[in-house]
Symmetry: C2
Subunit: 199 residues, 2 copies
């Protein structure tokens, strides 16, 4: 039996995911063939199949990776002194990602696939639930430190922050006048007034 | 030549549009055949074809109708004394519509079709631009009456209100915990703090 070198395995897996992300951003999930992903990754179909038996397992891996990255981001945010500033920093990074055409088109592809395919839908729903839990925890901690309004319903506020994140990606798709990287000032006003005590 | 009775023509057109809306909400735009729309409307294919030669002309008519309704809503809102209260009322009606499963699934169908089909995309973009113009006009008038913050950038605020509207429909699609009809209190807080002067 051939022994698997875990580092080499992880590196090849990474190579395929990056190639797939590039293809999906350019041509959409349904517009991309596994042959194109192989060509982009410089890999034979047999070799790709060894890592990901279907295109669906690739998109599932991308969604799972997104979940891990979000968890890691919130773990780091939780260590900050000023949790409200940390939240603003997170939302700035959302604007930054939404302003990256490759990322935003991939996000829309995943959202569309989550509607069409139940397995991807379940994974996307898990990511969404985890993001909201992480937001709730951050808001609760911020409230306990008086960095935001202590009387605010944290679950409700987290749902609206999630709605705003969705809205940012939707605007990028439909409104050429919405330039995420230039919207930071108004987003800060919106969040600080929504979340903080008025004084 | 047969004379067209304009009232009868409008009534039959209405009948077809309502039948199509019911079908599209249930089975999606691509999942609905013209035969099903005929059955729902109780009309022969030849008769339907006389009003709408293709399924696309039906969805285009629905989007156009949405445009006219939005224009009419904002014309009425503009006559209110308290324009900020009028805006809150409009946003409450958005929550109400988003909480109606038939309406929200139709809205998602149209948004998806606007991405796939250039003609529908152009119509949807026109609706979006008109909604934003109407919001800008409302915000400017409200500012001139000191009902909202006079120093606020009206175009920017309108873009964010549009993002929030998108976010509401997106949440309905992905998050069973987001119940639009119960979200009014937090939406009022968000909008009033975002738009009004703090005192």
């Amino acid at each position: 039996m051939r022994k698997i070198d875990p580092e080499k395995h992880a590196a090849r897996r990474r190579l395929i995911l990056d190639a797939a992300i590039a293809c999906f951003s350019r041509k959409g999930f349904h517009g991309t063939s596994t042959a194109e992903i192989c060509a982009e990754a410089g890999m034979s179909p047999g070799n790709l199949f060894h890592y990901f038996p279907t295109k669906h397992t690739i998109i599932a891996a991308i969604v799972e990776e997104e979940r891990q990255e979000t968890a890691e981001i919130f773990r780091k945010l939780g260590e900050e002194e000023d949790l409200f500033a940390a939240l603003l920093g997170f939302m700035d990074s959302v604007l930054e990602l939404a302003g990256d055409p490759a990322y935003s088109s991939l996000a829309l592809e995943i959202a569309a696939e989550a509607m069409r395919d139940e397995r991807i839908g379940t994974l996307a729903a898990t990511n969404d639930a985890e993001l909201q839990s992480a937001l709730v925890a951050l808001l609760r901690n911020a409230a306990s430190r008086n960095q935001i309004d202590r009387t605010l319903d944290a679950e409700g506020a987290a749902r609206w922050i999630a709605a705003i994140i969705d809205g940012i990606f939707s605007r990028v798709a439909v409104d050429p006048g919405f330039k995420p990287k230039e919207e930071g000032v108004l987003l800060h006003r919106l969040l600080s007034r929504f979340l903080r005590t008025q004084d």
